[in-house]
Symmetry: C2
Subunit: 214 residues, 2 copies
Amino acid sequence: MSLIPIRRGAQSGGGRAAEHGAGPAAESERRDAARNRELLLCAAREIVEESGADALTMDRLAQRAGVGKGTVFRRFGSRAGLMMALLSGAEAEFQGRFMFGPPPVGPGAPPLDRLVAVGAARISWVLEFGELARAADASVYNRFDVPPAVLWHRHLEMLLREAGVTADPWLLASFLGAALEPELLLHSVQVHGISPDRLAQTWRELVTRMVGGG
Amino acid sequence: MSLIPIRRGAQSGGGRAAEHGAGPAAESERRDAARNRELLLCAAREIVEESGADALTMDRLAQRAGVGKGTVFRRFGSRAGLMMALLSGAEAEFQGRFMFGPPPVGPGAPPLDRLVAVGAARISWVLEFGELARAADASVYNRFDVPPAVLWHRHLEMLLREAGVTADPWLLASFLGAALEPELLLHSVQVHGISPDRLAQTWRELVTRMVGGG
DNA sequence: AGACTAAACGGACTGCGGTCCGGTTATATT
DNA sequence: AATATAACCGGACCGCAGTCCGTTTAGTCT
């Protein structure tokens, strides 16, 4: 008998919370597991649509999907992980737009125009998906280190460099990015009634001064 | 008998969470209540000092102070309220500095210098008290509407106006303020090893471009 | 087909923040 | 001093996120 029973795919590297990234599993996944993942994502979307993201509790989700609570955590690691999985489609679409899409958001326009346009696009995106995005903000510690956030930050940094900003573009990108955080934008709109247009207009003002003023 | 038994001081207005503001109660407070408030604040400071803000749970605090859990919530309304009470001293001191203190942080210096200086001061403050401040961020909904945050925002807005910024100073103050949020600053320092000096330097860059570029 | 093993499963359990309500006590009135 | 009452007190209780571990099942190897 073989002492080392070669498993083919198996879950990815570490111990827990495999890859709450996108849709289908990284490699092969046991069929019951795959079925349950779909069941859960589907039920989660239903709950969010019916009652909002705040109403999505892990117990309720498990019950609705007809699985045990442990299964939910096995698949998604945490509530935040589940939210990320729900968001991954929208996030990928947005990334695609600023990386490969048509100008001025995508490549091909002058850097300042791109900064202005991508900010406006981000504002719209946040106003549409911000509730989920807020719920997907994990444990404060990795909130800025999750892949989409890193990509977004790098992109802002790159645009700043291209626009001729030489003074600490990395940190300036962080500062600029902070202005577009869901927390702040949602608060401005929902509590103070600021219009999305005004947000975009002021963003334009901010980045224009940033880039031009140096 | 008097149908309207006149209470003298009584708790402040509404129903719950009296005034977690500063030290002694707004007006007179029953002596046992006052004693318990001091007991609780004292025990809370001890726990934070020993084990950090995250280790401060309401049960543990109640037990340590030798009171019931209900008493803790009666006094401070919520965990966030308790944290605000712990912070109120440091917050008041900081407010005093930028409102009445010596220039360039306080009044008397040119607006741009004040913006630069107050940002640097804020950075130091956040690096010292940020952990508490983060724990004091209440329910996302009123995070920006709590008095110290409002005052801080107004101050930034005023400095922008004085510096000649005419385009939407209110929202620009929000955007600038976002760059100094504890969440972001602590992450920069703790995860990416950015030095406080570099934060202050880049803040200077940001506001200089903001004010000069228009 | 039958046996074997790693993975998936599910629900009881923990610790947390927050609420509630019956019992207790401080203070004003007589 | 006795009484009345409003505020205070405490801990049982709730719903939640997240963990643990005994049980079941899918996929593989003979």
